[in-house]
Amino acid sequence: MAIVEIRGLTKAYGRRPPALRDVTLEIHEGVTGLLGPNGAGKSTLIQCVLGLLPDFQGDAKVLGLDARRDRREIRRRVGFMPEFDAYLPETTGIKAVRFLGQLTGMPYNHALRRAHEVLFHVGLGEAVYRDVREYSTGMRQRFKLAQALVHDPELLFLDEPLAGLDPKGREELLKLIRRLADRHGKHIIWSSHILPEVQKVADSITVLKEGRSEGTYRLEEFAPRDGVYSIAFDGESPDFRAALDAQDIRVLATDGGESGDAWTVALDPELGSAPIFQLAGEHGVRLRRVKPVSESLEDVFMRILGGHAPSAQSAVSEESHHFETGEDA
């Protein structure tokens, strides 16, 4: 089901050239990256679908609701996390989130309880009674996510949600956002310039360029990079690494985690993945995943902006796909 449907949307500010020109697109369930260079019209698009700029031409529907006629209902069912630093003056985290919940129509007591829940959920449980002005940049990002979640929206607009976070915080928030989509059925539209982050979490991407839609693409449809595999495994790795080197299988990247190691390796495309299995068996390494690596989102994005969209990405398929969760081997 399309959660956002836009048909022929054009929006101009005064006599300036239109910020959006005849945009037609559909955004489907799951996590969608909204990508485009500065000035592409991402902000204007978000404002139009949130009902904040109703004077546009064309049609826009969000969650099946008309963006002009049902603005209030849309905003009740949608959460927005802005990119810029935003907080309420002279108030604590709990009061600010409670107040914003009240603005969504929640009764005081419900909003207060809910504010506690979402602040705990995003990792601000120990800072709920601190003035928001005292929050660090990372804490403010979490606060902004909490205020977007307070009314339990079906659809979340996240604008650069990982900005200002340290690597650990980024990883935590990425997992949290992915869980919101996977386990709690939230649809997420993620506007970002940091493409690797989008690639980690998104099911599909929608690209805007100079006010025009360049299409919506599923990440699963990205062309595989010949001979490049992502592998995850348990067991001793030094011998395995040496064996890979001996067979001229290059380890391009390594990433360790609680559940074992994960590497990106490259080998002769004509050999396929068979040597990896063989060497793993010989060295007692239990493989959990061997998966061809697709070209990076950055490659695809640059190609789209350059005017050469990938051929395999014409339309968005209806079936849901979860991008690499580490559970598929």
């Binding site: 009740r76 990119e83 935003a86 419900h110 990792g123």
Partner: protein, 314 residues
Amino acid sequence: MAVYARGYRPYEGSFGGRSPVMAIFGQGFRNAIRTRSFKILGVLVLIFYVIFTIQMYVMLNIEEVVSEGFSRFANRNEPFDFATYTTRYLKQALMGFYGFVATVGALISMLAGAGIVADDLRTRALPLYLVRPIRPIEYVLGKALVLPAVLAIVLLSPGLTFYLFAGLWQPDGTTNEWLGNNVDILGNVIHSYLVASFGFTGLMLFLSARTPRRGTVMAIAAAVYFGGAMMAGLGSELRGVAQQALKHVSLIVNSVSAHVMAEAETDRWRNEAQMERFREEAPSPTIGMVVAIAVLLIGAYAVYRRARSTEVSE
């Protein structure tokens, strides 16, 4: 700091809470009365109020003082009684009280109201409001109610209690009659409060919606309040159109004009010709109200424009 220390739970409550106008108003009101400036100036008004109440008690309840007051307030050729004495005393007392407290009210509005919209602009809270199911007009109404509520504490409640005290301190059985006969005093108190709250609120809304800097808002507001009072004083000395225009430019003077006019009518030394001249020089309560409403509408429109044009993303 662990993320999702508690799992996410869907919200199962209702969305039938109170109006967003009241939520915005409540938030703004709490922020305003928490300011140090409100507390300090509020205590000043309270001290002034207590002094006036004690003085009023003495003037209406101590027999020797009442006798002396009779000679001061009674015209030579008119029948005079305690009720009339109370009315004339109260009108003079209210003029004196509000002559000072209106200025304090302006200061409170300036200090507590400078951030009313400016703070939302500075912290970029406005987009967080406007992505909720509220209309810009609801944001405007919520903000516009804050200062009138704050000013009701310092400008409305003292006048109402003075009026009630004066009625209660009438001889037995005449309280209701006195209160009924002097509804115009109550009207003056309410008129004065409305002119002050409309004018002060409109000015602060307008300035606060123009800049995120509290200091700039306060500086311009101070210039308008005190510069306006000087212009009004100058206008009184002029004649013709210049006089009519300038004497109404002060929001503070306009706010006490009803009390000034009421007090002037109690002055036994002023004959009809002098009274006529006084009316020429003093600001008209009616025009003062019109000016205050106009300022309020301009301020509200400025906030509305700001709320309509706020970008949610940059």
